[in-house]
Amino acid sequence: MNKHPHGANGETLLLFSWLCTQDLTTQWRNDQQARPWKYPVRAQPWQEQHLTVFPEELIHQHVTDALQGLHADPLYGPAFEALVRYRLVFVDIDRIAWSIELHEQTAAMCALYYATDPYYSQPGDYAGRHQTTELADEVDAFWQAASSHEPLVQRWKWLRETCGGDVCLAARYLQAFFLWYADHARRKLQAPFFVWELLTISLKKMDWHALASRILNTISTEPCICSPLQAGDFLGKPVVALPDFAIRAITILSNEFSS
């Protein structure tokens, strides 16, 4: 059967590549035993079994299981999960499911190629079924999870007291902290590579000034003169080797040194 080619963005290919490493055959077999009504049987003995596409619900289950690893971080786990879930809205899960061909189990209807056209960067959709989101951007996703997370309330208070109304300073602290913390979390928490890759993408796209404005509950009236921070200044570095302002950020925002 001809496979319909379809463009896929980087996030889709990342999730697809991770799924390929999972035991999809066993998962399919277990699902068939658990929900036999979803798998059509041969009407006549001489007919080939009608092969269906891989159920996308099983992919959603895989993803949910994968995100459990973030729960081990009581402080920023929920915010990180929100950022990854926001990124997952851009993943075309339907077409991933249609691109999986398992011997005598599922038929692939689709094949994927890498596409950077903005059309493929929209939330995944097909025939009216949309993976949509009410969130405007990464700041929205992060703040929705972090604003009401009790362990972080004190952290935001300290950040407000430290920065006053200086949005640029708070943005610098936030960016430095999360560049360091995401690296730190990756070494501690058990989660598949696609979770960290999607989190990294979300953190790169984060508007730190917008997030700082939300936390400080203020809008900056001064022109921004911030120079961008370089990830290399933070990744893999012990805390004592970081710039002073980054150490200050870590003290305020994490459990590493705060009392």
């Binding site: 496979k3 290919l13 094949a111 994927l112 990744l235």
Partner: protein
């Protein structure tokens, strides 16, 4: 121009996922433009895998004993990538879908008489290096119990994987390829090879290698062994005359930390406070 869907194995799709996220579409397009310009064939494997080497820290070079083992396991998987498919999919010339290689196709692979190619590969690396003595000692400690020996070997090689694999500096594809190779090793057969006894697949089928009852004790033993080995190794390195005093001090610091950690864990063991289930 019509785009065709081509079947691809897991390794190819993993590499494609990494290549897309690493921005290699531009590299693939430039390589193709070079082909058109010079009319010379394009070696997609050289172009794309060179980018992997170029963008990665030294993963295997830092450990002269274990490095070659993991490099062999990684290279085995890399050789299974169909780079022409990756190049096409990156450029949008063709598309790919997953069709994993079935059991019969794997049997057709050249296993050299081992139950899996990965088992043969790992045994080759062990038998031709200092690791042979180490693994024989490990099996001796397991009192020649095949199941325990298989567990010990599996944990040993899983835990000895370079720590740099779990850092953002190291592309995820290294860890994934090595994990795939380790998962395909027949640890029962490897135990037999280390013990130099015949391997019987029928007997192996009755051995439940994954029994977790003694897994905790084994992991703890391996952790303590690693701490003690590093305490000794860094202590020895501090005696190397070519190093500056600062380097010597760093080695001594690490050695002391390993010793402190070893003693701390031993105290926790005596107080039955080693495992998470002991936490209140």
């Amino acid at each position: 121009m019509s785009i065709h869907g081509m079947m691809a194995n897991t390794e190819t799709l993993l590499f494609l996922g990494w290549a897309a996220s690493a921005g290699l579409q531009k590299t693939a397009i430039e390589a193709q433009e070079e082909v058109v310009r010079t009319r010379r064939p394009c070696d997609e494997k050289t172009v794309l895998s060179a980018q992997l080497t170029f963008s990665s820290p030294p993963v295997f070079e830092l450990d002269s004993v274990y490095g070659p083992v993991y490099e062999a396991l990684f290279s085995y998987r890399l050789d299974r990538v169909e780079f022409n498919l990756v190049g096409w999919a990156l450029r949008g010339f063709n598309a790919v879908y997953l069709k994993p290689e079935g059991g019969s196709q794997r049997i057709a692979d050249d296993t050299d008489g081992y139950s899996t190619p990965e088992t043969g590969l790992l045994w080759e690396q062990i038998s031709e290096s200092r690791l042979l003595l180490k693994t024989k000692r490990l099996m001796r400690d397991c009192r020649r119990d095949l199941r325990r020996g298989a567990q010990a070997l599996r944990l040993h090689f899983t835990m000895r994987a370079p720590l740099i694999l779990r850092t953002p500096e190291c592309p995820f594809i290294f860890q994934e390829f090595i994990s795939m190779s380790l998962a395909a090793v027949n640890w029962i057969e490897l135990s037999c090879l280390v013990l130099d006894i015949p391997y019987d697949p029928q007997d192996a089928a009755t051995i439940d290698e994954d029994a977790t009852g003694e897994d905790e004790a084994m992991q703890l033993a391996l952790l303590k062994e690693m701490l003690w080995t590093n305490y000794a190794s860094f202590g020895e390195l501090s005696q190397v005359p070519i190093f500056s005093q600062e380097v010597v001090n760093h080695c001594l610091t690490i050695s002391e930390h390993c010793q402190d950690a070893y003693e701390g864990i031993r105290d926790l063991e005596e107080a039955s406070a080693v495992y998470k289930r002991h936490e209140k």
